[in-house]
Subunit: 162 residues, 2 copies
Amino acid sequence: MTTPGTVRDDLGWALGMLTRSYMRASAAALHDVPGGPRGYQVLATVGRDEPPNQLALAHQLGLDRTVMTYLIDDLEKAGLVQRRPDPADRRARRVVSTEAGSALLCELERRLIAVEQDLLGPLGPDEATALRDMLQRLATRVDDGANACTVATEIQATGGAC
Amino acid sequence: MTTPGTVRDDLGWALGMLTRSYMRASAAALHDVPGGPRGYQVLATVGRDEPPNQLALAHQLGLDRTVMTYLIDDLEKAGLVQRRPDPADRRARRVVSTEAGSALLCELERRLIAVEQDLLGPLGPDEATALRDMLQRLATRVDDGANACTVATEIQATGGAC
DNA sequence: TATTGTTATACTCTATAACTATA
DNA sequence: TATAGTTATAGAGTATAACAATA
């Protein structure tokens, strides 16, 4: 319902289309989580290893610490996480998952698996794993900081026919 | 600089990471286009076939007609497109590309090809085409309206162990 | 002086509705 | 009455800066 067949046959279109679809579906699957997908990410991060403080949480999730405050406010009000004083640093708060939070996380992961399977449905099983592998490799490389804009700087030089 | 290695090893993370990277890079490549990526999309659509009116343009690009007004305002101010009265319907305006608009489009497409190649760089050539093909198939299927939320409705039924 | 967390403010997008001129 | 385009307003989301408590 968005595009014709002529203009958008490129990578950017496909990537955007797929990501939007995934975001829609996952947001729907996480509708009962305060903060939506972000709330889920907090739940998923909390409870593994040592409970992180809010700043570490914000860095891991690529958020500003101010939005982390609001996010945890909502999750705490819903009884899914708790703020606890850090015995080693009285400025910091360690965020821990409650029973309810862990139970919900368990349910959410089931839902998200279903969403992914639905999204990749039209691919054959070996194709799906190949796609996951390639996306994983590309994303990991991007995450490692290789995303410096090497392209933008060398653009002026090319100057050519269309 | 965003994530650790533990939590985000799933499809959603990779997809989001890659899309954000692409959006960053393409936005940088299109920095001198009024409206950014959207301005580019308008330029790319205008000039093929019959010049479309603003509403058709908005539908094709999945935008509201109100944002299309602002977008074309900016593009017109920059001398890249022109609004012309539609001889067949005096309510409508046909949007046509200027000389400068066509020249810029030509340049922009070069830049975006470079961005895509940079993004898919770590893949082998046959891998890259396989990825493009799979993304294209998935996105096209999503675009055809198969994105009805079939998952969300059947989630309650599963109820199981983590 | 720097850092954790909170709060308040401003700014950017987007969505909605109202308005005009045509059909 | 419905449609193409414009304009104005309100809301969500985000970013920025200032603040308190502690290191």
